[in-house]
Symmetry: C2
Subunit: 176 residues, 2 copies
Amino acid sequence: MSLVIPEDDNRLRHVCADCGTVHYQNPKLVIGTIPWWQADQQVLLCKRAIEPRRGYWTLPAGFMENNETTEEAAQRETTEEAGARVELLGLFALLNVPHVHQVHLFYRARLLDLDFAAGTESLECRLFRESEIPWQDLAFPTVSHTLQRFFADLGALTEGQAVPLYTLDIRKRLQV
Amino acid sequence: MSLVIPEDDNRLRHVCADCGTVHYQNPKLVIGTIPWWQADQQVLLCKRAIEPRRGYWTLPAGFMENNETTEEAAQRETTEEAGARVELLGLFALLNVPHVHQVHLFYRARLLDLDFAAGTESLECRLFRESEIPWQDLAFPTVSHTLQRFFADLGALTEGQAVPLYTLDIRKRLQV
């Protein structure tokens, strides 16, 4: 594999020296949910069992896979990481993290029951009221920003008002 | 390169037989704009100079690259394909095309001037009123659906009303 600019291109690409196949590398989508239990005003978070940020809390989310839609990815990750069933309520946030080549999408979601359970990538899953959120122990800036905006918008959302898509570019590296 | 399920995974991945590196393949983002010239109620389209769908009309759009944000990708593609300068006005559409492993995003955009010019991937770029759109000669279903919804929402948008993000899953293969 060598790094060259293909003839009809203007960027360095990984090209197979044997067969000439260009292996494009493009940003990946990380997709998750904000699972909300309206009766007790609680959000479901997962404590990560894997690196990076093992032991820190996150919203259920992960890399979108081929052959699925963004909504299917959101549902799948919520089931895989938190064993939870949710009804999706629309896209809430789009966050760019260009230095790690990622775009994060978070959907609002209604928890359908409380029979959740930590999946293999989670040490623990539990419900948090806004006052209980472990802000200092959240895994990623995208999760902190999304939760902050979610609680700021909660009054409007509870009244059934539409809120604009939350968009943010995060350019700073995570301090670990 | 061989197709195996890595130890901590549940899907087939391309793994280098020599070094064990897992080459993940995930959906790609295709990002573009709806460049609008308000004075004459016209949208800017490009006739494709490359396959697939050479000779058909499209909104300026292309694959998001590493190290950029979704908005930067939208601006870059609009400049590369149509030589046009735009001000972005917010995300308008998110369309899933799971059978080709793509997610398409289109931003509303205000054309800043009429000094546009076809880029190397376009045969021609020109402005169209709604009644002039070549609906039978559009390159992709994502472009047709986005333009249809854009014109349906145009009244509300012109009055400054917020419209919900247009989302659609396109599961049928393109008939060519």
